[in-house]
Each structure stands twice: as structure tokens, then as C-alpha cells.
């Protein structure tokens, strides 16, 4: 665990793995809820957790390495299921990269239990991990200028769902009608860091 100073009020805590980052994130949330930690933002990412809005980052940096951080508990009851049609324009390309048929892409993807490692890019966009390393794919050489809302996409080790129409360079393998972000809803984001996600194949109507 390496705390790095980020200006006068923040710490970026670097961990050795995404799993460790997940564990520290859970522990930070627990301590904040228990009133043991005052911090405005706790932002988990690929292998870091940012703590922004701290009174004394140096003091916390000195205490952090002595913390005992339990491994995160899995909460299987909180799985968000997203109905997906595997009809993306890059499905064949992904199938070729994986060396399988398009139907097998759907089977492998929908057979995976994902977890939101972190969010970013747009409100409600989660970086989902869970696919084994061998299924990593590169971003498209030329990003699309318009990716529709609900597009289910892959890049690197991650799966994501575009909350709204935007430019994007990930490989599109499917479509969901789920509303990923609705600021009039509580909570606004369907996916938050730590949420478990499963994609459920849906037949075309």
C-alpha cells in the first residue's frame, strides 16, 4: 500500500492489485460510515483509491499502512441483471480475437459474473471486471463518433455499458435497454463501484 500525496487535500493510495483496491475501498467506506474518517470523495480506480477532501493527508498517509484491511466480502444477493441482445457491430471481430464463434462470445460473456471495479468517463459508466485475461481486446483503432446509449462494449480487461449516446472506441458486442443513469432516480446510477453484474441474453423480439 503506497499513499501518494495529491495536492494539499488528497491522497492517492496505490495498491498492488485491483482486488486490494476493492478491499481498501470497502474498508474506507466502512470507516467513513462509522465516523472514523472524514473525507469528501472516495474514488476507487483500476488499482488505486483516491481520497479527496482530507484535513490532514500526511497524517492519514502515516497511519494507513498500519490498518488491517479485511478481504472484501462478496455479496451475491446484490447482483444487477442486465438483459442484453448480443447484436453489436463488433461481435464478429471480438469472436475472431477470442478464436470462437459469435454465439460462444455471448455464452462466455453472459456466463461471467462481473463486478464494477470503478466508474468514470460519464455519469453511470462502470468499468466491469470479471472476464479472464485471455479475453482482453484492444480498443478500436478508430473510435466511433457516435455509440448509442445501451451499447455493451469491451476494451482491455473491461466490459462497460454506455449510459448515453457518445463517441467511443470500445468494441461493441451487444445492446441493453436498461437505464444506466437517471438523475431523477434514487440512486441515479444503476452501477456503482462494487456492484455485481450479470448479463442475461435476451432473444430479439
Amino acid at each position: 500500500m503506497r499513499p501518494l500525496e495529491v495536492g494539499a487535500h488528497a491522497l492517492l493510495v496505490e495498491l498492488d492489485s485491483g482486488e486490494e483496491a476493492r478491499a481498501l475501498h470497502a474498508e474506507l467506506l466502512r470507516r467513513r460510515a462509522a465516523g472514523e474518517l472524514r473525507v469528501r470523495e472516495i474514488v476507487p480506480a483500476a488499482r488505486t483509491v483516491l481520497l479527496d477532501g482530507l484535513d490532514d493527508p500526511r497524517g492519514l498517509a502515516a497511519r494507513l499502512p498500519a490498518w488491517s484491511v479485511p478481504p472484501p466480502r462478496s455479496r451475491a444477493r446484490d447482483v444487477v441483471e442486465l438483459a442484453v441482445r448480443y447484436d453489436g457491430p463488433d461481435l464478429a471481430e471480438v469472436a475472431a480475437l477470442w478464436g470462437v464463434s459469435p454465439g460462444e462470445v455471448a455464452a462466455i460473456h453472459s456466463g461471467t459474473e462481473f463486478r464494477v471495479a470503478f466508474c468514470g468517463f460519464a455519469p453511470g459508466f462502470g468499468y466491469l471486471t470479471g472476464l479472464p485475461d485471455r479475453y482482453g481486446v484492444p480498443r478500436r483503432a478508430t473510435p466511433r463518433t457516435a455509440v448509442p446509449a445501451g451499447a455493451v462494449a469491451l476494451a482491455g480487461p473491461y466490459t462497460g455499458v454506455y449510459p448515453r449516446a457518445s463517441p467511443g472506441g470500445w468494441q461493441l458486442i451487444g445492446t441493453t435497454d436498461a437505464v444506466l443513469w437517471d438523475h431523477a432516480r434514487v440512486p441515479a446510477a444503476l452501477l456503482a463501484p462494487g456492484t455485481s453484474v450479470r448479463f442475461v441474453p435476451q432473444e430479439r423480439p
Partner: protein, 306 residues
């Protein structure tokens, strides 16, 4: 709250947005903080018209805006100095002023600086999103930028306005001197690059916006060529994209990013950064104790912008 009080936008200007203190606390969901770029100017404007600090104001860009009042309104114009008129007659800048019902309050082009703030008694009362009325131009949350003819509701007037003839404000900078602390990824740059960063003069690029103050100048050479896994970003972070030119993250900055942050600007420099027009010289001055936590560089898959 519906009060019937409102102003009608008669000239929206180049880019005028509704801004308040922003929506901190949602960065983990990918929601930028947003909020007024020149926060001290917004706070002063609210004080001058008797508003509480969270009241929403209008933030103009370069060429101001104009509104017609439906009822009499106390207003204050702060931030980038400009000519202010009410129905064509000169009115004070940086002081409370009374705008009678039906009059047109015109906030002119900035004579220095970039962003002028228009505070109206009662505050702009558009529907809040996640507790804030700020327009977030990166993710499209909050009210859209103003357009000619749009109607802005105002909240109830609830305090007497300040009794001052003119409130002093810092002038926009002829040269932007930004105090910075190095880190957290300063070690991704060569020693030469860090020297360059701390000693050479950059200039504000015309590509700057509410997301970031972009700069032109000598590129910073990386000591580490790999991709950085996505990580959380703070307001004032100086991120260095592949072209090597530092970008200072302002209020609408993304909450996570994948380029190394060489330094973080001290927060008291951000208002001046928001007021520096393209071409303004920029110097980054490293101050404070050396950053803690120098780190070895590992390799894990990078998460890049979708």
C-alpha cells in the same frame, strides 16, 4: 420553489451557464464536481445581492449576456470586469444595483479576464440535479447553457442586499503564476521535464474550457512510456497528455483519468486560472514539501476512455 420571479434571456452570449457550488460527493459515480470557475467572484456576487452562498449565479464567457427582468431585482456583476448597463444607462460593476421591472440588464464584454459573474437576488432557481444547479458541460448534467429567449426562474428574495459602493476584487492576471505541489506521478517524467515544468513559461491555449486550462509551451518528456491505469483526479490536477503540454483540470474535469498528473495547482490559484485569456503567460512554481510516496512503476492493464 415557484415564486413567479424570473428573468428572460435576451442575449445569451458566447457561453453563459448557471453555476453554484457544484455537486461534490459523486466522483465515484463519474460525476464531475462542476460549479462556478471563479468561485470567489460568485461568492462575492451572492453576498452583494443578499443571497446565501449556495445560490446559483450566471457565469458568462468573454462577451457577457443580457437579461430582461419581470420584477425588480437586485443584481451584482463580479469577476471579469466589463461595462454594465441598465436600459442602456451605465451601472456599477462590483456593487449591488437595482434593476427595475421590465428593464434590460446588459453585462458587456470582458475588458480583462474571461468570465463575468451575474448574481441576481433570490438566485437562479432552475431544477437542481443531485443537489446542484450547476451546468456540467463534460457530462451534460444540470441546465443547458443559456439560449436567447429562455426564462430563468428566481428564488425568493430573503435578505437585504449589501450596502457597499464597490467591492474590491483581484484583477485578472497579466501573467498567471500557479503555485503547485509535485506529484502524484511526477516520477513518470524525466528530471529535465520537471525542470522545464518549473522554470519555463507556458501560454494559455485557446482550446481551454471549463474542463481544463490547456497550455502551449515546451512538452514534458516522460521517463515512463507505458500507459497509466485509470485513477481518480482532483480539481487543479495538472495532467500531461501524450503531446506533453500540461492541462490544469478545472471544475468540469473528468473524475478518473489515464494520463499522469505531474502536479496539483494550489486551490487559491484556480480562480485566476479561470480568468486567464488565451495567450496569457503561465508559470508553474513548485512549492511546499516534497511529495511523499515515490513509487516504483508496475504494469497492469490500462483503462482508457471508452
Amino acid at each position: 420553489m415557484t415564486t413567479g420571479r424570473a428573468v428572460v434571456v435576451v442575449r445569451a452570449g458566447a457561453l453563459t451557464t448557471v453555476q453554484d457550488l457544484g455537486r461534490p460527493g459523486y466522483a465515484h459515480l463519474g460525476v464531475p464536481r462542476s460549479g462556478a470557475l471563479d468561485a470567489p467572484a460568485a461568492a462575492l456576487g451572492n453576498r452583494l445581492v443578499g443571497n446565501a452562498p449556495p445560490a446559483a449565479v450566471l457565469e458568462t464567457t468573454v462577451n457577457g449576456c443580457a437579461v430582461r427582468t419581470r420584477q425588480g431585482v437586485t443584481a451584482a456583476v463580479t469577476g471579469a470586469p466589463c461595462r454594465v448597463t441598465v436600459d442602456g444607462r451605465p451601472a456599477p460593476f462590483g456593487a449591488p444595483l437595482w434593476v427595475p421591472a421590465g428593464a434590460v440588464l446588459d453585462v458587456g464584454s470582458a475588458v480583462a479576464g474571461v468570465r463575468t459573474c451575474l448574481a441576481l437576488s433570490g438566485g437562479v432557481a432552475v431544477e437542481p440535479v443531485l443537489g446542484s444547479r450547476s451546468a456540467d458541460l463534460l457530462s451534460g448534467l444540470g441546465p443547458a447553457p443559456l439560449t436567447d429567449g429562455c426564462v430563468l426562474p428566481l428564488g425568493p428574495e430573503n435578505a437585504p442586499h449589501a450596502r457597499v459602493d464597490v467591492a474590491p476584487q483581484p484583477g485578472p492576471p497579466a501573467e498567471l503564476v500557479l503555485r503547485v505541489r509535485l506529484g502524484p506521478r511526477a516520477d513518470w517524467f524525466t528530471a529535465d521535464a520537471l525542470r522545464t515544468f518549473g522554470t519555463r513559461v507556458y501560454r494559455v491555449s485557446s482550446a481551454s474550457n471549463r474542463v481544463g486550462l490547456r497550455t502551449e509551451g515546451p512538452p514534458l518528456e516522460r521517463a515512463v512510456s507505458g500507459e497509466l491505469p485509470s485513477e481518480g483526479m482532483v480539481l487543479g490536477a495538472v495532467q500531461v497528455p501524450p503531446d506533453g503540454r500540461p492541462v490544469v483540470f478545472l471544475a468540469d474535469h473528468p473524475t478518473t483519468g489515464g494520463y499522469p498528473v505531474v502536479a496539483v495547482v494550489h486551490e487559491d490559484g484556480l480562480a485566476a486560472a479561470a480568468q486567464a485569456p488565451p495567450g496569457t503567460p503561465v508559470r508553474f512554481v513548485p512549492v511546499g514539501p516534497g511529495a511523499i510516496g515515490s513509487r516504483p512503476v508496475g504494469s497492469v492493464p490500462a483503462a482508457r476512455r471508452p
